[in-house]
Symmetry: C2
Subunit: 216 residues, 2 copies
């Protein structure tokens, strides 16, 4: 009976890692749609979000069932509570990838990203991708050291966002209002994806150390 319970706890962590990898694919799919002005890729991201939603709900239901039936304490309880919060982060990251895909789709056959800002968006997407990958491994291995490193990557994301805004607001910006709004929102979506990756990492730190850091 207890063995089965620990199997279920482990299997929830496995599914959380798998969901993190799905979300990572969704974000990189949205980035590809955006940079290549690929309407089909955008549609795929948008359509696949229901799979992410379903996986999210399934993990949540199983975590709640374990909470209700096994009445875990200490670390197991923290594991399940952390799972509920991480699932909420992943759900939201999936939604943000859909927002990116919808901006891409709206501008097809053009790219929503004008040439001068491609390197910045490429870099933001790369940082987001690395951060989700790191979050996945942090969850799988309960890696507190990697979790702390993730905050530094998040600083890089913040700098990229600031640089993006400087370009949009400079006198040289010659692309008008519509692309500027697209880019401001895209910058915000990538930044929020990164924030959620950090939030997941902080949940793992809390799980391991019992210490909750502000802003989780």
């Amino acid at each position: 009976m207890r063995d089965q319970y620990y199997e279920q706890l482990d299997s929830i962590v496995d599914d959380l890692v798998a969901l993190t990898n799905s979300v990572r694919r969704s974000v990189s799919g949205a980035t590809a749609a955006l940079l290549n002005a690929d309407g089909q890729a955008a549609e795929t991201v948008i359509a696949n979000d229901k799979d992410i939603d379903e996986a999210t709900e399934l993990i949540e239901e199983r975590a709640l069932l374990l909470l209700a039936t096994q009445q875990p304490v200490a670390t197991d309880l923290r594991q399940l509570v952390a799972t509920l919060r991480m699932v909420a982060d992943l759900d939201r990251m999936g939604d943000l990838s859909v927002h990116i895909a919808k901006v891409a789709r709206m501008r097809v056959p053009d790219s929503a990203v004008p040439e001068p800002l491609r390197p910045t968006i490429v870099q933001m997407a790369a940082v987001a991708d690395q951060m989700i990958d790191a979050a996945s491994r942090i969850v799988a291995n309960r890696d507190v050291i990697a979790a702390q490193r993730l905050e530094e990557e998040d600083d890089e994301m913040d700098q990229l966002r600031r640089s993006l805004f400087r370009t949009l607001l400079s006198d040289e910006w010659g692309h008008g209002v519509e692309p500027a709004i697209d880019l401001a929102l895209l910058g915000r979506y990538y930044e929020r994806i990164a924030d959620h990756a950090v939030s997941m990492a902080r949940r793992v730190v809390y799980l391991v150390t019992g210490e909750l850091k502000n802003g989780v």
Copy 2:
């Protein structure tokens, strides 16, 4: 012992309602700062966010402590899990009010909202305010009917956001890129605040009916 436990459960709900009201004040303070180009009001909202963060953490810790020590089942368990999710919503709504206040502060002594868009922002802020107020009463009274009505108010918010974007992208928009980006982000912040109010309401529906609606 059980009496004390139910007192603690009730007191968590009371504190959740109080926190919702604090968040409501923070959002309306940010709106006032924005519309009146009031730097001092903006500073107050930004400074007071730490109180919201602290209240958030305190409720979360108490909910976790009850989960760990009382091992609740059924409705009590759902109540505590819903509390954890609602606390995360409120934390985020507080952050969004800070984002609004920071946009206001950045443009002082001007208002970030050009004259033609004032009515739209006033209306978005009013809808957000009503929705937070409704969320507070929904949490206090477990009012499922009011929770379902909240979705309709959210439709109004979506319409206002679309109308805002139409104005920003119309040929008549003569205020340039910077205010357009401010307004696009402000529109998004109010919309997200409304989304979180809806999410809180859905948590209450789940609490009462046991049914989880997608996208909570």
